[in-house]
Symmetry: C2
Subunit: 109 residues, 2 copies
């Protein structure tokens, strides 16, 4: 069921990581787990303002995992996503900090 490959840090590919982060939904997801640490996927969807179906979110999370940006841990029926900050920093120092700390354009409620 879970044959998603989460690559080792040595196998990270910059274009793939950038592509994973280039989608606004995925960027919001990454920002959320960057700030809140390991988070339950359901909460991420709610709190990160992602209006999409479960299957679509699952798809996006897969992209992030296969690029090496996040890991997923399963506990019971729930899944928890976490940013692979150390691995990312080891391969691309400063990249995630720059992206996470970037000024977020004001979003009107």
């Amino acid at each position: 069921m879970d044959d998603v490959i989460e690559p080792a840090a040595a196998d990270f590919q910059l274009p793939r990581i950038l592509a994973a982060l280039a989608d606004p939904h995925r960027l919001a997801t990454v920002r959320y787990v960057a700030v809140h640490g390991e988070s339950w996927c359901g909460l991420v969807m709610q709190e990160a303002g992602l209006a999409m179906s479960k299957s679509t979110f699952s798809h996006h999370l897969r992209i992030l995992r296969e690029a090496g940006v996040v890991t997923k841990r399963i506990s019971g029926a729930k899944g928890y996503a976490q940013l692979r900050k150390e691995d990312l920093d080891s391969r691309f120092p400063g990249l995630m900090d720059a992206i996470i700390d970037a000024e977020v354009p004001a979003r009107r409620a």
Copy 2:
């Protein structure tokens, strides 16, 4: 003829910039001008190892310009591309440095 919009730094959109950099060809282009400074487009195509038609390169350069990553200057019949380093740094400090300084995977000749 040249109605490509090069956005002001204040209008930069992170997802768009990341998407522009996510393509290996465009990433190689950016890296080249980052190292060599303002460069003639023809040279960039040759030296950056881009095996593509002129029209395709023109397309990629447009993506980079519209995202705000590079500027183009026309001198006579030739065009010269330059990285908008200051503008990029002002909006996303550390981002371009991280990307430019990233270890490039060895490419076998």
